[in-house]
Point group: C2
């Protein structure tokens, strides 16, 4: 599965795998794809350095990338404490009420909140980049808009390609104008932050909008048939995130959450602002229902909502409080029905791709 972009990056298959877990990212790269490690959960540079060291040792010299979440709009001189202070009391009370209603225990005294969203903050993202630029990362992706010009320049100086997610042709053109190298067209059905346009429509629209820039199709892709579809739509590769969440290498640290993912159907996700303040697709839970309820206080804008709910999400995850337990995931969750190794998933993708090509060739009378 070779495109101009996969050849340029030196990978066997034009399959890009986004994941917050180093073991998954490394396994994707070893399987012949391009693993992209999500950095948002790393609050401290040393944690990221430790995991990038590990990646270096476990990728056999093959290429991998890093995904940061750097908001497009820069907020100068604002600390985490300043932002915390902007959160209304009503919303804090609603968090506690919702947790109490479901009997979610407190964290032990002094126990740190495990789920972090501090990577949303520019200063944190920048400290992550300072670390990352010491490693032979081949691709830097940004989930929220184009990275600042100086970051793009630093990446390019090091021969690192820069990508960003886009939910519309307008966003994609903005990335092109900002000098980016790759656009990830993130369809409505995708997990995490998404727009309203589904992949079937968005992919070719973005391809046309930024031609000749390479585009990766993201959203709704978890089989080789879907990869073939994404490539038929003009993408130079596909970007898969959700499908790795139930692999053996994923470190969800919650059997209950894994069970929920394995049991969920494609209709069990919702696009909600509950987690970050921007619409992000995730499992629909009593938690998302509470925030999406017109009778409730509603969500706060990013980054307030993320800071507001961080400790609560940690508690829900630690104590595995089933009705509230969720995670960002796409509609593809409906076909995540067994726990397999990354290699097994990858083999399934490449075999399914070949089957799909056979199929369309038969239909086109080319067999």
């Amino acid at each position: 599965m070779k495109t101009e972009l996969s050849t340029r990056l030196g990978v066997e298959h034009a399959i890009f795998g986004f994941t917050p877990f180093p073991a998954v990212a490394a396994a994707i790269t070893r399987a012949g794809g391009f693993g992209v490690l999500g950095a948002v959960r790393y609050a401290a540079g040393e944690d990221l350095a430790r995991d990038l060291d590990w990646m270096q040792e476990h990728t056999d010299g093959k290429p991998y990338g890093l995904d940061v979440v750097m908001p497009a709009k820069k907020v100068e001189g604002v600390s985490e404490a300043d932002i915390e202070a902007m959160i209304p009391q009503e919303h804090r009370a609603f968090v506690q009420e919702t947790l109490a209603k479901h009997g979610v225990p407190e964290l032990a005294e002094g126990e740190a909140s495990g789920w972090r969203i501090t990577g949303w903050l520019e200063q944190v993202a920048r400290s992550q980049l300072d670390v990352a630029f010491d490693y032979p990362v081949k691709l830097l992706a940004n989930a929220l808009g184009s990275p600042p010009a100086d970051v793009v320049a630093r990446a390019h100086d090091r021969g690192i390609l820069v990508a960003a997610l886009a939910g519309s042709a307008r966003h994609a053109r903005h990335h092109q104008d900002a000098g980016l190298d790759i656009v990830v067209a993130q369809g409505y059905e995708a997990g995490g932050h998404t727009g309203e346009i589904a992949s079937m429509v968005l992919t070719p629209e973005v391809v046309e909008a930024v031609d000749p820039l390479p585009v990766l199709a993201a959203g709704g892709i978890g089989s080789g048939e879907q990869i073939a579809a994404g490539l038929a739509l003009g993408a130079q590769g596909v970007w898969l995130g959700s499908i790795w969440l139930t692999t053996e290498e994923a470190e969800l640290h919650s059997a209950a959450l894994t069970e929920k993912l394995l049991a969920a159907g494609s209709g069990d996700t919702v696009r909600s602002r509950a987690l970050t303040g921007k619409p992000a697709r995730q499992l629909r839970t009593a938690w998302t229902d509470a925030w999406d309820d017109p009778q409730g206080p509603g969500t706060l804008p990013m980054p307030l909502q993320g800071l507001l709910v961080a400790e609560a999400v940690s508690r829900i995850q630690k104590y595995e409080v089933e009705p509230l337990l969720g995670t960002p995931v796409g509609q593809i969750v409906g076909r995540m029905n067994s726990t397999r190794s990354v290699q097994a998933v990858f083999d399934d993708l490449t075999r399914g791709f070949e089957r799909a090509i056979d199929r369309v060739n038969r239909i086109a009378g080319r067999d």
Copy 2:
């Protein structure tokens, strides 16, 4: 572009075109596709008979189908007047207020409401079928659930294949259990009544759910590349509706509406209950905004909403009141940017399909 289903129906290309306009349906059939005439706008059997006579004369003996809107739930012995009586006064007042706010003129005295939704009513759909069964229709499609068992039996007695739209694998299995022959997997991005699951995820899910029943991919398809994607996902054909709305043969009878469609981007549609009471994708307008506004009275369930707004929609269309003027259409509206003949659109589809096959074969190393 041949599949088992297209061969069975005797068409050259597995492209199914749904349209309310006989001239469009006939042109799709003549071009080598399968034209499907939407019957919902026919209140009287004689009007449908006249247009089916015309179809017979203009399809060169090639096959075509009919699409009715027969609600799955039968309401016995209820007349249109009975249903009218269930509409609250508050909602009637809201219609008049919204029309007045935008200065929509009244219809002339005695002038009939041109936009009809009476085809939603079972007795009307049944009278349409009584007419249709006298013609060599090859496919009967139902937009709202499985048709009643006696209708399926009557169709099968005449060698007519029966199809129904499905927005989920569960709906699709229901159609299979009801003895239907084809499922149209209608993705989130589609125009008209849609569910929440996007085509990229829905198509393969439905294919797997009803195997070996043939599935048509619908939603987001308006180019040959998108056709290739739909077929790669396992469909035996594609079902296109929106793309024909701006063809030369389409009888929208409103230059302003055609202009709106040509100008709209993929983000200019909304899934709203404003038109029928069930979520249907359409152009976003001041009309849909009014009904979707949490401050307003909200929409009524089908069929009440459709009856409530029928005359208003006729007035908006007749007087082309721009801010309110809309139509069901999918996200593909973003690429409907010029008025061309059905044949030109069709040629574009088949050429784009061949290009997409070339492309994926190059990526797969099969060129």
